[in-house]
């Protein structure tokens, strides 16, 4: 089976600023991988680089075996990727339902979740479907941001800080959602500051610092890696 995501020697810039230096990481189908690191380590930039949202990129990015490092942004989603950005990016000029329905299917054959399934998973969104997108609470907007990429049939999900700034009960709900998605075979790359949220969910961890991968280990090795993590993340 082709690797879901394979990044080799990726460097990325924003204008003149060289942010990512020779990043290598891979994610197998069905895995949940977490990118850990302090603020400014380059984790968000890595996700953005995958989506083609940074400046210059060098190196190779393969999504489901297809080289996407030179593709324009609007073609990358169609490789089966769904991106949920840190700022959530809910559109204020659209209603909640319009926001949900906005992202098109990633391909003609892709089977995303139906609107009914999504509303079953997120009843709040059903209730608030006619409200203006940005009138939803922080937690609801986060749900919406994830829900809308589930509809597209994307099987590789890039989630940036989805637990940030949310009430514990909502974070728990998100945790259950990730577990469900994982059980259904989705491949997930998560950027997370909240160690306690990420730790039980991930199969593998990468740690970034100064735009480079400095550590990687499987979930089983988490105990023994704690001292290292304490130092790197101040956890």
């Amino acid at each position: 089976m082709t690797t879901a995501l394979e990044i080799s020697h990726l460097s990325a810039w924003y204008g003149e600023s060289h942010i990512l230096h020779d990043v290598n990481l891979s994610v197998e189908q069905g895995e949940v991988v977490t990118l850990l690191g302090r603020n400014g380590a380059g984790r968000t930039t890595t996700l953005r680089a995958i989506m083609g949202l940074t400046g210059r990129r060098e190196g190779s990015i393969k999504i489901n075996g297809v080289e996407s490092g030179r593709m324009p942004t609007y073609r990358i989603a169609h490789l089966g990727v769904g991106y949920c950005p840190e700022e959530r990016a809910i559109f204020s000029s659209l209603s909640a339902e319009e926001n949900l329905l906005l992202p098109p299917p990633v391909s003609k054959t892709a089977q995303g979740m139906s609107v009914d399934e999504i509303y079953a998973m997120f009843p709040n969104l059903a209730e608030r479907r006619a409200s203006q997108g940005t009138r939803l609470s922080g937690g609801e907007q986060q749900m919406l941001a994830v829900a809308r990429i589930l509809r597209t049939g994307a099987r590789l999900l890039l989630l940036d800080e989805i637990s940030e700034g949310l009430a514990p009960v909502i974070v728990q709900a998100l945790s259950r959602m990730i577990t469900t998605l994982k059980a259904r075979g989705y491949t997930i790359v998560m950027v997370e500051q909240n160690f306690r949220f990420a730790a039980p969910l991930a199969d593998r961890f990468y740690v970034m610092e100064h735009g480079q991968i400095v550590e990687q280990f499987a979930a089983g090795s988490l105990e023994e890696k704690m001292p290292v993590l304490n130092e790197l993340l101040g956890v």
């Binding site: 942004t73 609007y74 990358i76 989603a77 990016a89 559109f91 204020s92 329905l101 992202p103 098109p104």
Partner: protein, 294 residues
């Protein structure tokens, strides 16, 4: 019967003329707003492309014997295509730069278009007759309604409202609204935003071309017909703000009517009343009547 010393029928006639002008203001400011929302460019060439629409109608009739009704569809399509060429070859290089370069480029294009048409057709207007189906006037009892002018108002309003509907109520419009807010994110969802940008520009200028065809039987078809109009439309856009589609339509119509009424009661002010209103709006509500600070 008289109102303020003006016979009612004359007043209503001027009101209709005001609505006609207002329709053009509405259509042109709508096109400008749609283009500005997505491209962040003020399309100075809007006036010249409106002129081009009128000229295409004239050329269609006089060179190819194609009648008004066909040109009403063909001319906007041709203008839209021309706009697409402009966007793909010139405008797209400027998106990363300051807004003003878009204005300067489209200003240059305006001069070029006007210059070319002037060199071939001079400055005096060319006549274009009202299509026979709409000639004459209908007697409504309280006034004589010129058929063609009524048609212009109806056609413009229909097109404007259709545009409003597509933008506010359809999926395609949702892409446009979302793209105006955050084009990169819409692209990340897999929508071909660069194509949407090109087509939006094409559509915006097609609206101008359509207005041009409507205008041809009313005004003389002249290379200069766009430039004075576009500056007034700028004032309309500043007054209305570019935040809402309906706002642009209402503002355009309203200002046309006010201008028409001014022509009746204070004719000396009629050329400048829109600008005066703009100055007042700037003093009390700088973001514009329907504006969202952008």
């Amino acid at each position: 019967m008289e109102i303020f010393g003006i016979p009612t029928s004359a007043l209503l006639g001027q009101l209709l003329l005001g609505l006609v002008n207002g329709s053009f203001y509405a259509m042109l400011s709508l096109g400008l707003a749609v283009i500005f929302g997505l491209l962040n460019v003020i399309n100075f060439a809007h006036g010249a492309l409106y002129m081009m629409g009128a000229f295409l109608a004239w050329m269609g009739l006089n060179y190819f014997g194609v009648n008004y009704w066909v040109m009403l569809i063909v001319a906007p399509l041709l203008v839209g295509l021309f706009g697409i060429v402009i966007e793909k070859t010139m405008l797209r290089w400027l998106y990363r730069l300051d807004h003003l370069y878009g204005l300067l480029l489209t200003f240059g294009i305006t001069l070029m278009l006007e210059g070319v048409f002037r060199s071939f057709y001079g400055v005096s207007g060319l006549p274009y007759s009202v299509p026979s189906q709409l000639a004459g006037a209908t007697d409504l009892g309280f006034m004589l309604l010129p058929n063609y002018r009524a048609w212009v108002v109806v056609a413009s309003l229909t097109v404007c409202l259709m545009t409003w509907f597509v933008i506010e109520k359809t999926r395609l419009g949702a892409y446009l609204r979302a793209g105006t807010e955050n084009p990169k994110m819409v692209e990340a969802f897999g929508v071909n935003v660069p194509l949407m940008v090109t087509l939006t520009y094409g559509f915006g200028v097609a609206l101008a071309g359509f207005a041009g065809v409507l205008a041809a039987p009313i005004l003389q078809v002249s290379p200069l017909m766009g430039s004075n109009l576009i500056i007034t439309v700028f004032a309309v856009v500043v007054i209305g703000g570019m935040g809402s589609i309906l706002g642009s339509i209402v503002t355009g119509l309203g200002l046309g009517v006010i201008e028409g009424l001014t022509r009746v009661f204070y004719p000396e002010l009629s050329a400048t009343v829109v600008f005066i209103i703009m100055a007042i709006v700037l003093l009390i509500r700088p973001a514009g009547l329907f504006g969202r600070e952008k």
